[in-house]
């Protein structure tokens, strides 16, 4: 009985630890997670592949962003790098199977949209044996450097950053976050907030499709105060520059 309970607890941990409010961790079930199948690219080969060329990759789902009309958008990663898969063909039934850690083989076309390199809409996938959840890689020191983009789409962390004013409210008072990029939104929309390090300020986002207003991270960002020192985790998304999609915010340790 204890064994069954332990197994269930372990499974529950696997299913819940990635995504919003997660603590990523390397829980790869085996040591050869990145041994690619026949005809599948390594991450290095994927990076080298020209835009608009066909790519075949194997990776592990780290978080699901959205599903609509048989199209799923997911963050995936292997031990070497990450792949953002935008609107791949996916039934609702299959989408339910894409729990964090699930290994998938994706066939599609590599493309770029506003700086975000991704596997384009219409890719197909199949679920394979294997499980891996990436630990958040600390990229704090890479902010503002050309090195950062090499980690695009990875699950990453930022440590010891300071919350800055994101804008002003109706009375002209500084606020720590905005609904939508300019404050034009409402509860439930994307949250935008600014954090600084060494005199440089960066805009981070809680993407509402990835982490909606019922998640811990959404509540945590709404509770931020200017001057707070925080640690964050999230996915290193790109839109005309780095635009991390934050999935967890905690007080800096």
């Amino acid at each position: 009985m204890k064994k069954i309970t332990s197994l269930l607890l372990a499974l529950a941990l696997v299913f819940t630890c990635a995504g919003c409010g997660s603590k990523g961790g390397d829980t790869a079930g085996n040591g050869d997670a990145d041994v690619k199948s026949e005809g599948v690219m390594t991450y290095e080969e994927y990076v080298a592949a020209p835009l608009e060329s066909e790519v075949v990759i194997e990776a592990y789902v780290q978080a699901k962003q959205s599903w609509w009309e048989n199209k799923a958008t997911v963050y995936t990663q292997d031990k070497d790098g990450a792949y953002f898969v935008y609107n791949m063909t996916c039934s609702e039934e299959d989408y339910a199977k894409l729990t964090p850690g699930t290994k998938i083989k994706v066939t599609g076309f590599k493309t770029e949209w506003s700086g975000e390199v991704e596997i384009a809409e219409g890719a197909t996938f199949e679920i394979e044996e294997g499980n891996y959840i990436a630990a958040a890689q600390d990229v704090t020191s890479l902010l503002g450097t050309d090195e950062l983009i090499k980690h695009q789409n990875k699950f990453v962390s930022f440590k010891g950053m300071t919350v800055e004013a994101a804008g002003q409210d109706e009375n002209g008072n500084d606020v720590a976050f905005l609904y939508s990029w300019d404050g034009s939104g409402q509860d439930g929309d994307d949250l935008y907030f600014n954090v600084s390090l060494d005199g440089n300020t960066y805009t981070f986002t809680v993407e509402s499709y990835l982490c909606d207003n019922t998640t811990d991270v959404y509540a945590a960002v709404k509770a931020l105060n200017i001057g707070d020192k925080i640690d964050m985790e999230g996915f290193l998304y790109w839109y005309e520059g780095v635009n991390p999609h934050i999935t967890s915010v905690t007080a800096a340790k």
Partner: protein, 535 residues
């Protein structure tokens, strides 16, 4: 970071089917204007509004609600904001099924056509327009409401379909071509009086020339997409209109998949193949490329004008990437310069029916409030929008606003006011596409033809041979266009025709009729018998 890609790009016909599947169940009673003392209770209505991810627009909505509630303290308006018409559309469809639609909703006529497949869901407005007390300019209205005659006729007509007015226009825009004039001239060209497709293709091809290091000669950068189109559905629709080629009939017959469309796609493919043309869905916002000196012709809504140009008040790219250039704003390119044609678009407002007609009346009053000069002028100034009433357009306030073009790069941003004037000068050259249940899907399909063709050539695929036939058949299937034209395309607030009765129902009815017939015969027999027995 202003905007991200909509995740709800596919507005499939499923919504229509889902709603038409409800044809047999009891719907709401048709709305009738209350004759007794009106608006004596407390009413709470919801308003689903769309903004262009623009804080000023949000504030205008909020102020309009506050001002309205001051005039009508017994009506509370709850605002729900959207930045995407597709999301509103999908949420409305979901809420029709659960009878939780908003009271007032910003929308497109194409979408209303789908809502109408439910029974009495959307209120026909012509009766309300004309009501002496509460109609447009009515005697009981507590604010300066425009009369029907003060609405711009073309814009109002766009809200009439299926024999009824199902909406009021809220704002109107069209598309504009935002041009890096500096680069056009650097390439040795002068902008013509009327932009043509041939001119744009020619200049775009000229801009593709590179130096030995792979930099484009015109901008010295590694990136140049000379021509980017934001809304490819509009692109195809306008090209077909200009060519006088088929798109659809008013009755919902689909004509899109014709030889002219194929020819247009082949031309587009030719220029997309070497990167001279791309789209928003494939590359990103035209404004981002234009402002970075990586695009020469950016076609987007006039309601996107504040993002366009070196001095644009709104911008997504970092300051160090912005290139200095002169921005020209022109109508979209034409095939026939003597007969320019451009789309009329922009938000409209519809009212959803409710059990309580007083609540509907409250919704109607608020809808009218959105037509007042205060709201119309303020909102129109946030982007390259045009007010939908003569009353607002002719005010000194609005005329002064237009006259101050270029005074600053905020309120009087030159590109924005040029875009506004573009529509004001061309209202007679605008058109809209026929509205019917499924017309939203057809619109998506029109854009998808271009998106798929461009993607294919960028990926080195051959678009000759049987490519177009397969593209047509795949698109018809994806958008279920083969199901349009039947019951789903009916557009009426009345109960839909339920079709042929099932056999079991016919048998039952025959049995019932037979039973009643036998009863009648028996009664007749008894009457005759009694008469004979009692002469």
């Amino acid at each position: 970071m202003r905007r991200s890609r909509s995740l709800l790009t596919a507005m499939l016909f499923a919504g229509v089917l889902a709603l038409s599947g409800c044809h047999g169940r009891a719907g709401l009673n048709a709305f009738e204007i209350p004759q007794e003392a009106a608006l004596t209770g407390q009413y709470e209505i919801t308003f689903w509004a769309k903004n262009d991810t623009n804080k000023t627009q949000t504030k205008i909505y909020e102020k309009a609600i506050a001002d309205f509630e001051e005039l009508y303290p017994n009506i509370k308006v709850n605002l729900r904001l959207y930045t995407d018409y597709g999301k509103i559309y999908n949420d409305v469809i979901t809420n029709i099924a659960t009878s939780t639609t908003p009271n007032v909703c910003i929308t497109y006529p194409d979408h209303i056509a789908t809502y109408l497949t439910g029974v009495n869901q959307v209120v026909p407005l012509e009766g309300l327009f004309a009501d002496e007390r509460y109609g447009l300019g009515g005697s009981e209205i507590k604010f300066d409401s425009p009369s029907v005659e003060e609405m711009i006729p073309q814009f109002l007509e766009e809200c009439e379909f299926g024999g009824h007015y199902y909406a009021l226009p809220y704002m109107r825009s069209t598309e504009a071509c935002y041009i890096n004039k500096t680069y056009v001239e650097k390439l040795g060209y002068a902008l013509p009086d009327v932009l043509t497709w041939d001119f744009i293709w020619e200049v775009s091809e000229a801009a593709m020339e590179k130096d030995e290091e792979g930099n484009f000669l015109v901008n010295g950068q590694q990136v140049m997409i000379p021509f980017i189109y934001k809304s490819t559905d509009n692109m195809m629709i306008q090209m077909l209109k200009q060519k006088e080629a088929g798109y659809s009939t008013k009755e919902g017959e689909i004509l899109l998949f014709n030889d002219e469309t194929k020819a247009l796609l082949q031309t587009i493919a030719e220029h997309a193949k070497n990167g001279a043309f791309s789209t928003f869905k494939i590359s990103s916002y035209p404004a981002n490329f234009l402002n970075a000196g990586q695009c020469i012709f950016a076609i987007d809504s006039t309601a996107g004008a504040t993002w366009m140009g070196t001095n644009a008040p709104l911008c997504d790219i970092s300051q160090d990437k912005i290139v200095k250039f002169e921005t020209e704003v022109m109508p979209i390119p034409q095939f026939d310069t003597s007969n320019p044609q451009m789309i009329s678009q922009g938000p409209s407002v519809c009212i959803f029916n409710k059990e309580n007609p007083q609540e509907v009346l409250a919704s109607w009053l608020f809808t009218q409030y959105l037509m007042t000069n205060e709201v119309q002028i303020a909102y129109a100034q946030t982007e390259g929008y045009v007010p939908v009433t003569n009353k607002a357009q002719e005010t000194d306030e609005y005329q002064e606003y237009l006259s101050r073009s270029g005074e600053d790069n905020k309120q009087y941003y030159e590109v924005k006011i040029k875009a506004t004037k573009l529509l004001l000068d061309n209202v007679d050259h605008t058109f809209v596409t026929p509205v019917f249940a499924g017309s939203a899907s057809l619109r998506d399909a029109a854009g998808q033809l271009i998106e798929n063709t461009v993607k294919s050539v960028r990926r080195g695929q051959d678009v000759g041979g049987g490519y177009m036939e397969k593209l047509y058949s795949d698109t018809v299937s994806l958008y279920r266009l083969d199901q349009i034209g039947g019951r789903g395309s009916q557009m009426s607030s009345e109960k839909a025709d339920l079709g042929k009765l099932p056999v079991t129902s016919i048998i039952l009815l025959v049995c019932l009729a037979g039973a009643w017939g036998l009863i009648a015969l028996y009664v007749l027999f008894k009457v005759v018998k009694n008469k004979r027995n009692h002469p």
